[in-house]
Symmetry: D3
Subunit: 64 residues, 6 copies
C-alpha cells in the first residue's frame, strides 16, 4: 500500500483536500492499487533550505 509523504508549504484545507484527491488518483492508476496513504508535512519557509539559503530569506529578498 503506497504511502506518499509530501514535504510542502503551509496550505489551507481545500488545497490539501485537492492534493490528496488528485495524488491518490495518480498513484492508484499507475500502481493499480486501491489503498493509498498520504501524509502532508507543512513546513515553514524558515525550515526549508534551497541551494544553501532559507526559503524564508529567498522570499524576503524577492519582496525586496
Amino acid at each position: 500500500m503506497p504511502t506518499i509523504i509530501i514535504e510542502g508549504p503551509k496550505a489551507d484545507v481545500e488545497t490539501k483536500r485537492e492534493l490528496v484527491r488528485r495524488i491518490t488518483n495518480v498513484v492508484r492508476e499507475i500502481y493499480k492499487v486501491h489503498h493509498v496513504s498520504v501524509v502532508i508535512h507543512e513546513n515553514e519557509p524558515e525550515n526549508v533550505g534551497v541551494d544553501g539559503e532559507l526559503l524564508a530569506d529567498i522570499i524576503a529578498r524577492r519582496k525586496g
Copy 2:
C-alpha cells in the same frame, strides 16, 4: 542504531511515553540492539489522506 519514525495522530504526553517505551522494547528485542531512536510526527487529520479523502473529512462524516 534503528530509528523509528511514527507518522501518527495528535497524542498526549503519556500516550507518547508509552509508545516510545513499548516500541523501543520490541525493536531492541527483535534487532538485538540497545540504542533505538523514535521520532513521533503528530499529524492533524487535515494533513492525512486515506484512500483519496482527508482524514478530517472522514471523521466529520462519521460524526454526521
Copy 3:
C-alpha cells in the same frame, strides 16, 4: 520547493517516469511552484506491513 517521497512497490522505469511526470504536474498546479523533487523508494513486499501482516504474506495467501 516541495519534495515528494513515495514509499511504493518495485516498478519499471516507464512506470516511474509517468509517476514523476504526473505527480509533479499535480503538485506544481496545486502549490503554484515550478521546482518539485520526487524520491521513489521501491520496497520489497516483505518490507511492507499492512495491518500487522507482511505484504509478501498477503500476496502469497491470495495466490493460494
Copy 4:
C-alpha cells in the same frame, strides 16, 4: 492511519514478520486504530552514521 517507518539493519523475512506483527499490535493498542502501515528500510552498515562514524567501521573495529 498511522504509518511507521523503520530505518533498521538488514534482516531475514521471519524477523521482519515479527517486527511488523508486534509493532502493529503496540500502535493499534495505543492509538486505538485498526489500520497501520509499516515500511522497513534495510540499511547497509556503510549507509548508517553513528556519532560521526560509519556503522560499518564501528563493526569492523569491534571485530578487531
Copy 5:
C-alpha cells in the same frame, strides 16, 4: 538532487540559517552537485524517544 531531512530540536532562525548553509556546502562538495534541498523538522522533546525514554523526561530528570 540530494534532499536532506533533519529530524532535530526546536531552533531559532539564525541557527537554521547556519545549519542549511553549512550542510548544503558539505553535501555540494562531497556529491559534487549544485542543487541541494534541506527540510528541517523541529521536534518537541516529548516527541522524541531515546533508548526507550521521552527526551522531555530525560531533560526533566537532568534538571532534577
Copy 6:
C-alpha cells in the same frame, strides 16, 4: 538526538564516510549535542524526479 536522513545518489564507502563525519560535525556544533544519527538512502537516478523528469533521463540527455 538529531537524525539526519540523506536522500542522495549512489556513492562509494569513502564518500559516505566523509559525508557522515562532516555532517555530524556541523550538526554537533550547531545543535550543541553529541549523539547524531545519519541514514543515507542511495537512490538510483531512475528513482529520482527533478521538475517532472527522471534524473536518469536528464543524465542520458546530457550525455547526448
